[in-house]
């Protein structure tokens, strides 16, 4: 497919993030399992459910565009997840690992904030009201999750500092 207009660019970016969200779903399960703090594990599990809802929203956006929800390998999210996986291989104090897991998760959130930010702008420009509505809901959720992680970090960082 040649990307000849902004509508095509939007579809490409939707395919990228659809695949990305699915990769994130699998990664969040791993992160929840490896978190030391119960609160952090619960936050990852909660975000996992949210992510499943975000996948559904993306599928609805494809439907609104009369397209099949077909993903396309997202190298960006793959790299971010690989970075998180490497963390789990490190020999780290549990509390310090938690602080680093939050840092890794916030990188993923920021990827999504950038991706959905672009998508919302493009959908608005193209007058795709239903698509824009769906994407804006997810963008708001991603920003909220990032803030929640910052809040959680303020407590977990203190535990990490007194560890070791």
């Amino acid at each position: 497919m040649s990307i000849s207009n902004l509508h095509n660019a939007l579809v490409e970016e939707l395919r990228d993030i659809l695949n990305g969200e699915k990769q994130i779903t699998r990664a969040l399960k791993q992160m929840a399992k490896n978190a030391n703090s119960e609160e952090l594990a619960a936050a990852f599990e909660e975000h996992l459910e949210q992510t499943e809802g975000q996948v559904e929203r993306l599928e609805k956006a494809f439907e609104a565009l009369d397209l099949k929800p077909r993903g396309k390998h997202c190298a960006g999210i793959e790299g971010l997840i690989e970075e998180g996986k490497k963390l789990l291989e490190e020999e780290a104090e549990p509390e310090v690992l938690d602080a680093m897991l939050i840092a890794a998760a916030q990188k993923v959130e920021h990827y999504e904030i950038a991706a959905y930010g672009t998508l919302c702008t493009w959908a608005d420009m193209l007058g795709l009201e239903e698509v824009a509505r769906l994407l804006k809901e997810t963008l708001a959720e991603e920003k909220e999750t990032d803030e929640k992680l910052t809040e959680l970090a303020s407590q977990i960082n203190v535990e990490a500092q007194s560890a070791g």
Copy 2:
């Protein structure tokens, strides 16, 4: 090395971003060369110079910690850059490619905002004043660059919309 405390976590994250910034330097050269809009090419070149300054700041941070500035492969940035490179292989209208290059660049900016955000918090907690000062300067620059890209996008998206 085992990551037994928050200080070690900070050093690991500094090594990650040092390698990441160097990867970004090389990528920005490519992006500037492939941008269709002169203004966008100039923005990438300007950010390239800025990134070189950010590498120097990181080297000073290592110095302040009495460590050699040694990077560690940053898989996150590698994935983001790979995503950008794939764009360049697509058959795309030049104006649409520009809009997509901005989207790719904003994902990189957001990675850095997340990474430096964590680093600044940790440096403050650890009482590393000089390190925190250096990192905060860079964090402010990254946020500014992200805003500049959003501004530039508002014009380039319009060109992309009327292309094709």
